[in-house]
């Protein structure tokens, strides 16, 4: 039996890792089981796998947190082989690289013949990614996790999880709904069968909605569309992970050997080149740009290209300019002071900056969070959303709890399970501590404190019974307590209603009251971040300080 062509093998590898990525992303969701009743709920699959093997996440985490969080050591599995072999990761494994590869291969009016050759030639702007890398690493060293804005997995999970998949779900549900409500029974049953199959694989139990999902989706489409003009623009010019792997592959022992005596300058190798690393004759090969896709070797009609261990030919390096490196350093050093010297972080914290349970204090949170959206994808109540302005410019796309859309489920700690960097430190339901007396010795996680808007509250303002908030309050004793009061209704009748009050020493800020309040548009009870257990300063009560 003959082994398939190397490029074939690469394609299989890309398909395999992309499928694995998609599978893990789809399973970043609690689906429930009728067969078990275990009270401690965890995801069955290692859905954060791709973040754990991502050396950029590992490096950023090491720089910001001075350590490597749970599982991030696995990134050496990619980093060390890259030192020896080069950027095989970009060509063979990276799911975003594979998507870009696919779109770069599609026929395009802007990329034909000469234009395609020109597009695939090495370009000076490919060095941009190295300066981006330098800037984000310096910023990380100073304490911010902004690397996630451009980390390929963060970008992909955020775009797919918060926009592409919810969009797909909406479209499929609408289509299935049309089938299932058809007048014809045959169509109905086809719809039923499809619903069953899709329900087990792709569909969400409830339609997820994410704030600003449309912008994340458009940004994703834009990056993909760039491929129609310039092959793999993202990978060649922007990706800081590609840059990191490019730098460490500078001295790799595997390299392209060009045989000038075979080359007749047909340029066919360039037609399918992915990295813009110039496999053509007459110029040096750019080792740090090569994705090891092996297309050039496959394409060359004269068999004039070959990958060999310990090649003797001279190659071109990352091609960095000192002045731009210094600019990158300066930009990275300036980023954090610029963003933190505006109000928001220290001086005027947004009242609705509600972080997920287990989140570390804001300063550490912003340094560790890579804005990947895993926590938002996994939240069973669709409660976590990418922040737009609530956490300042620096906190763009970091997770915030939006109780009106979804509250924090009492025993759920899935966001802390999937967080790849420890921005949401892994906790157990017991450590979250909402199912016991929260005022007892154990220190529960608190997200904030609830407040009443008595002008909108039914028993307070409208002489009407309600107290749904008290019913939903998950702590015991409840943080919401009731006082029977005599009120006078519009007709002048004396009536007894129960009015709700809040005891901040019991409130954990889960937002269930806000979620359940029947005043639909602007609820009469709402949660703000004061009292959050992760902060020492954002407190109301004197006696909370010492715990």
């Amino acid at each position: 039996m003959r082994l398939p062509k190397p490029t074939r093998l690469r394609l299989y590898s890309q398909i395999f890792f992309f499928s694995l990525f998609l599978f893990f992303l789809l399973r970043t969701e609690f689906r429930g089981s009728f067969r078990e009743s275990s009270s401690e709920i965890r995801l069955p699959y290692p859905v954060g796998f791709f973040f754990q093997i991502d050396p950029l996440v590992g490096l950023s985490n090491a720089l910001t947190g001075h350590g490597l969080y749970r599982g991030l050591l696995w990134c050496l599995v990619i980093l060390i082989p890259t030192m020896f072999l080069g950027r095989f990761f970009c060509g063979w494994i990276c799911p975003l690289g594979s998507i870009n590869h696919f779109f770069g291969n599609l026929k395009s009016e802007r990329k034909r013949g000469k234009q395609l050759l020109e597009s695939n030639r090495y370009k000076r702007w490919q060095t941009a990614k190295y300066y981006i890398l330098i800037a984000v690493l310096v910023a990380a060293l100073l304490g911010t996790g902004m690397v996630g804005w451009l980390d390929p997995f963060s970008f992909l999970v955020r775009s797919m999880g918060l926009s592409v998949l919810p969009t797909t779900n909406y479209a499929l549900q609408a289509g299935l709904g049309a089938l299932e409500h058809s007048r014809f029974e045959v169509v109905q049953s086809v719809g039923g069968v499809l619903h069953f199959i899709l329900g087990a694989t792709l569909l969400n139990f409830k339609q997820p909605y994410f704030r600003d999902g449309v912008w994340l989706g458009l940004l994703f489409l834009f990056i993909l569309a760039l491929n129609f003009r310039i092959t793999r623009f993202w990978c060649r010019a922007l990706c800081p992970l590609g840059a990191l792997l490019g730098i460490v592959s500078r001295w790799s022992i595997l390299g392209l050997v060009k045989k000038p005596e075979h080359c007749n300058d047909c340029n066919r190798c360039l037609l399918r080149c992915q990295g813009g690393d110039d496999p053509i004759g007459g110029v040096p090969w750019h080792q740090p740009e090569c994705h090891l896709c092996l297309n050039c070797v496959d394409e060359c009609p004269e068999r004039g290209l070959e990958f060999k261990f310990f090649p003797a030919q001279k190659t071109a390096g990352t091609n960095l300019q000192r002045r731009k490196v210094l600019t990158g350093l300066a930009a990275g050093a300036a980023l954090l002071p610029v963003m933190r010297s505006t109000p928001g972080f220290a001086a005027e914290r947004h009242e609705r900056l509600l972080r997920p349970p287990g989140a570390v204090d804001e300063e550490f949170f912003l340094s560790r969070c890579i804005r990947c959206g895993e926590c938002m994808k996994v939240c069973p109540n669709n409660a976590l959303h990418p922040a737009l302005t609530e956490a300042g410019v620096e906190g763009l796309w970091t997770p915030i709890l939006v109780p009106r859309i979804g509250y924090c489920e009492t025993s759920c700690v899935l966001c802390s399970q999937v967080c790849p960097t420890g921005a949401i430190w892994e906790i157990t339901a017991k450590e979250k501590g909402w199912s016991v007396d929260v005022s007892s010795a154990a220190k529960p996680v608190r997200l904030g404190t609830a407040f009443y808007d008595r002008g909108r509250c039914l028993p307070w303002a409208m002489a009407t019974d309600c107290i749904v908030c008290e019913e939903w309050c998950p702590t015991s004793p409840k943080a919401i307590y009731l006082r029977p009061t005599e009120v006078i209704d519009a007709e002048g009748n004396i009536k007894q209603v129960k009015q709700p009050y809040l005891d901040p020493s019991h409130c954990v800020g889960c937002g269930a009251c806000e979620h359940a309040c029947p005043v639909q548009d602007r609820p009469a009870v709402y949660v703000t971040s004061v009292g959050e257990s992760r902060s020492r300063s954002n407190q109301i009560l004197l006696n909370r300080r010492k715990s």
């Binding site: 009743s37 139990f205 107290i467 749904v468 008290e470």
Partner: protein, 328 residues
């Protein structure tokens, strides 16, 4: 002949004209038709639904059974036997809906949801009596998949052979409940058009009414803005109870939640009572449990009076034929 190069021949011109005229006439026709079909958007009309699931009364049998003992499943068997056996309530080929309380993301020990062993045994009894399908479902308050799993009810009921249905948001139908305060409301469709309905609530404390018992369990068949119902809690409870008129109410008092209900959470709030109360009279069972565990008179629960006035059952549980047994 020169003209031919500049303008179309008469024949081609006619064809072209006809084509344009045809499209124009078509557009006008569609426009006229649409203009006559303009309507102000209204929410679709409610579907008609089956009301009432009761079986005929039998004066020779007790109407209520209060059983105490250690094994929840045995309590169910004994209680149902006292009332005449499940065959009295479930006929061969029936579709039976069992409605436990699966409202909260809590474990059985926390007593916020119905005891899973009680649900499992009821499912077995129904299937034993020849039911074609037994559906176990509820529209949870907390995230339903967590509630169904962590309550242990999904596992127990599926193990007993029931069909578990999660509250899929696409399966709610607008129904005219024909109540006094509840008219059109979203009802979860498994509750519509089943032959028998068995209510399996758990007795818990509640901040608004003092206790949440059997009738309050019917909130769990509704979708929509359920959080408005508390504003007319008594009237809405009776409307729902009148709409459903269950075959049987089996109240789980194995563990009861004395304080901080209906969510609880703290094991200190739970009291082990090892009791099950089953009855064909949904009013009497609520009245009895309210009095027995919370010392609430019927005056404290106005919905009971309203329900009795509407002929749903008897307020004076003392006058109901009752069988009390202690198995331990």
């Amino acid at each position: 002949m020169e003209n031919e190069n500049i303008t179309l021949s008469r024949r081609d011109a006619m064809i072209k004209l006809l084509r344009v005229a045809g499209v124009g006439a078509g557009a006008a026709g569609v426009g006229l038709w649409l203009s006559r079909h303009s309507f102000r958007p209204e929410i679709a009309l409610a579907t008609a639904a089956k009301r009432g699931h009761t079986v005929p009364e039998n004066p020779a049998l007790p109407e209520m059974a209060i059983i105490q003992g250690d094994d929840p499943a045995r309590l169910v068997r004994q209680a149902v036997d006292e009332l005449g056996g499940m065959r009295r309530f479930v006929s061969r080929g029936d579709v039976v809906l069992v409605k436990p309380n699966i409202g909260w993301d809590r474990t059985p020990e926390q007593a916020a949801n119905t005891n899973p062993d009680v649900v499992g045994e009821i499912v077995r009894q129904c299937l034993g009596a020849g039911a074609k399908r037994v559906i176990v479902t509820d529209v949870s308050c907390n995230e339903s998949r967590r509630c169904f799993q962590r309550s242990g009810i999904a596992q127990a009921a599926q193990g007993a052979g029931a069909e578990i249905i999660l509250p899929d948001p696409s399966r709610f139908k607008d129904v005219d409940l024909k109540g006094e305060v509840l008219r059109e409301w979203q009802v979860f469709d498994p509750f519509l058009n089943v032959d028998k309905v068995i209510n399996v609530p758990i007795a818990k404390h509640h901040g608004l009414t003092g206790a949440t018992l059997g009738m309050k369990n019917w909130y769990g068949m509704l979708g929509g803005q359920r959080n408005q119902l508390h504003q007319k809690i008594h009237e809405s409870l009776v409307d729902l109870a009148d709409f459903v008129r269950p075959t049987l109410t089996i109240m789980d008092c194995y563990r009861i939640l004395l304080r901080n209900g209906p969510t609880g959470g703290n094991l200190d709030d739970v009291l082990l009572k090892k009791t099950l109360v089953a009855s064909t009279d949904p009013v009497a069972v609520d009245a009895y449990v309210a009095k027995a565990y919370w010392n609430l008179e019927a005056d404290a629960l106005p919905y009971l009076k309203l329900a009795a006035a509407r002929g749903l059952g008897k307020l004076e549980f003392e006058k109901v034929r009752t069988q009390i047994k202690n198995l331990s």
